[in-house]
Symmetry: C2
Subunit: 217 residues, 2 copies
DNA sequence: TTAAGAGTGAGACAAATGTCCCGATTTATA
DNA sequence: TATAAATCGGGACATTTGTCTCACTCTTAA
């Protein structure tokens, strides 16, 4: 849900500290609500998030949004477009103030080709992304919304972040109305029986979720 | 829908023809219905499809299947597990007789590290896979089934292949009942050949249909 | 302090999808 | 060929999700 990549971040810290080719790397900041990348645009840089949280989403022609992931420290964006020169697939929007390393495509390609460590990190990142995207797509298609919602709440509690309802709904691919309804049903049922839901919830997570329910009242 | 990767296939043809390290590459065959890879297993080889069509799908605990893609010539599978040593994410099942190049993980890793062309092909493949998975997940979540189904039929017609209904439904993440119902509705709207599943439309006609649907909004 | 406006939650209804089941058709087998 | 078994399409109903709307709260500005 909120993905991070400490290894990538660490690499960039070392790389920028070591002068030389790293001069091309700029640091950019974005205020909350700004888009780092706009769907359909052609871009010339890859970003690696140094600080802050963004959402990665597609806007469909019918006006609906689908959020793929929330990206935090060390996550890379614009990489798909850096590898295959195509138009941007998703929007990347800052939901907190964000700082990034901006890497020009030329340097990005050079790193992929000449820096084994960077190349390996990139491969791993892509693999993780595919796995998570597949797991989520399947889960959301084949289980009732109630399950997916509960799982999302658990993740949110676990990572100790707060995501606006609108964004949660967009992440689940449902309307806020459905989101509210399901939330209400979960409350009414006193939720529990996580085992029946096939979700591993710790007592701590459950308590956190319940606490948040109270706040939502 | 049916993905292929001619560049990968071509690489393998050249590679196996050139002796040397390629001795480790074996050719395996599978009859229709057999699984090349079983979800949850630990594997030691990566496969590149030389001939035939497979389906790549997750089986959820509730017994439902979700098909991600149909994979044909030149597509690679087991690569995620070759890059990060994890248990298999998906099942890969032959739906026609299939022949593959079986590459041991040791050689696969070696190629990634030492063969720039192979590394590049792998990166591109992963990028394409992410793009397609994202586009589809979003589309299927945010548009009515009718749209997704029609699009699927168009793809099927375009690629001139026949996919069993059960698999089509699993690809769309719906039941066969829903699939049949939607099909019937499309027919009632004179969108499809009333004969049944066999689509008798040219590419051009299908495009016209899609355009009309856009207008219907 | 009040009034207009934005944002939010939920009721009522509509539409979409799943579940259960039966009868028709096809396939397999004696 | 005849009969049993399996498969398939679709009707009827239940459940889920979306749409529209309104009432309520919370600002903000006069």
């Amino acid at each position: 849900m909120l993905r991070t990549n400490p290894a990538f971040l660490h690499f960039m810290e070392r790389f920028t500290a070591s002068g030389r080719e790293s001069e091309a790397v700029a640091i950019k900041t974005f205020t909350a609500g700004t888009r780092l990348i706009r769907q359909g645009d052609t871009i010339s840089h890859v970003y690696i998030i140094r600080e802050g949280i963004t959402k990665c989403y597609i806007e469909e022609d019918n006006g609906k949004d689908y959020i793929f992931e929330f990206l935090g420290k060390g996550e890379i964006t614009g990489d798909l477009e850096g590898i295959r020169k195509e138009k941007c697939l998703c929007n990347i929007e800052a939901i907190t103030p964000v700082t990034v390393y901006a890497i020009p495509h030329t340097l990005f390609s050079w790193l992929l080709l000449n820096n084994t460590e960077f190349n390996g990190l990139m491969l791993e990142e892509l693999v993780i992304r595919i796995r998570q995207t597949c797991i989520r797509a399947s889960y959301q298609q084949l289980y009732p919304v109630e399950y997916a919602l509960l799982r999302l709440l658990a993740l949110e509690a676990e990572q100790d972040i707060v995501i606006p309802k609108k964004d949660m709904a967009a992440y689940l691919g449902i309307t806020t109305r459905s989101f509210n309804r399901t939330l209400k049903e979960l409350r009414a049922k006193n939720i529990l029986d996580p085992q029946g839901m096939n979700i591993d919830l710790t007592r701590k997570q459950l308590e956190e979720i319940l606490r948040r329910f109270e706040d939502m009242k």
